[in-house]
Subunit: 146 residues, 2 copies
DNA sequence: TTTACATGTAATAATATAAGTTACAGGTTG
DNA sequence: CAACCTGTAACTTATATTATTACATGTAAA
């Protein structure tokens, strides 16, 4: 199964806040860009707020970026939207047979291996910023308009 | 959400085939070690067979390894059990608004980024073999018996 | 202070996948 | 043919995601 689209939506939201920073980015406006409904946007925006990535408050229309674009990595977003609990990207079958050599050791053996792989993934996400994403979007846009 | 336990079960199966290579590894026997039911084991074993990792045939009791332990990486297992379709570890929201600068470019922008992260994950899985896993299991076992 | 409008959040339903289970067809061996 | 195993389909249960609706709460302007 794939990792939740909350992650890509979160990236979309942050990018939009920058690209449309002159406008008022209400959950309804963002929802139209993402093509989903406002309640889901508010939920994800709330997660981004809890992670300190955006400013958004009850009653006040629109969300804004809370950090510099270059200070927000995709890893920040990934962790903010709780796509994966820490150290739980890979599911490990529960309760293997303790009466079996493999059964009683497999979890302790593959756990650390999975952690290494997970960290490799996170590292790759950590070197890309929303600034990089926005630049690429604007570059593609320029190319399309030629 | 986590990646399916089919992956960890696949690793368990292959490790067990080595550790219990003197015995006959029927789906029922393996199921007891994994602590699940034989039908699921046969399903996963079938996937490992399709990937050329084990020998198993209708009517003949027991599965055996089809390759050297050191020639089977966790990436081979990962791909064999189809935990993730190629290039689809990360879900990307469908149909963002083409009338929006972000909406019409976001997919093409984050797709390649996600691929890089996915490859980093796969690379980490590719450097660990079932031989490494089995050695670690046996080492832990020795330590526990001291 | 009342009205208009936005966010926060709960509740629900629809959908998808995983995992457990049962059943049985088909292959193999003695 | 009998016993046993694998392959596989069908069904159930459990869980997570996503979409949707509804409404309480907060803010600001008239």
């Amino acid at each position: 199964m794939s990792i939740s689209t909350r992650f890509s939506v979160g990236i979309h939201i942050l990018s939009l806040l920058e690209v449309n920073k002159e406008g008022v980015n209400t959950s309804e406006f963002i929802a139209k860009s993402v093509n989903t409904n406002p309640a889901l946007i508010r939920k994800i925006t709330g997660m981004l707020r809890n992670a300190g990535l955006v400013n958004v408050r009850p009653g006040i229309a629109g969300a804004t970026l809370a950090k510099e674009l270059s200070d927000i990595t995709l890893l920040d977003v990934y962790q903010a939207v709780n796509v994966v609990q820490d150290k739980e990207l890979f599911g490990i079958h529960e309760q293997p047979n303790p009466a079996c050599t493999v059964g009683r050791n497999i979890q302790d053996t593959i756990g650390p291996i999975f952690s290494v792989a997970e960290l490799a993934l996170e590292k790759a996400l950590g070197v890309v910023t929303i600034e990089d994403v926005v630049k690429d979007i604007l570059e593609k846009e320029k190319f399309n308009n030629q």
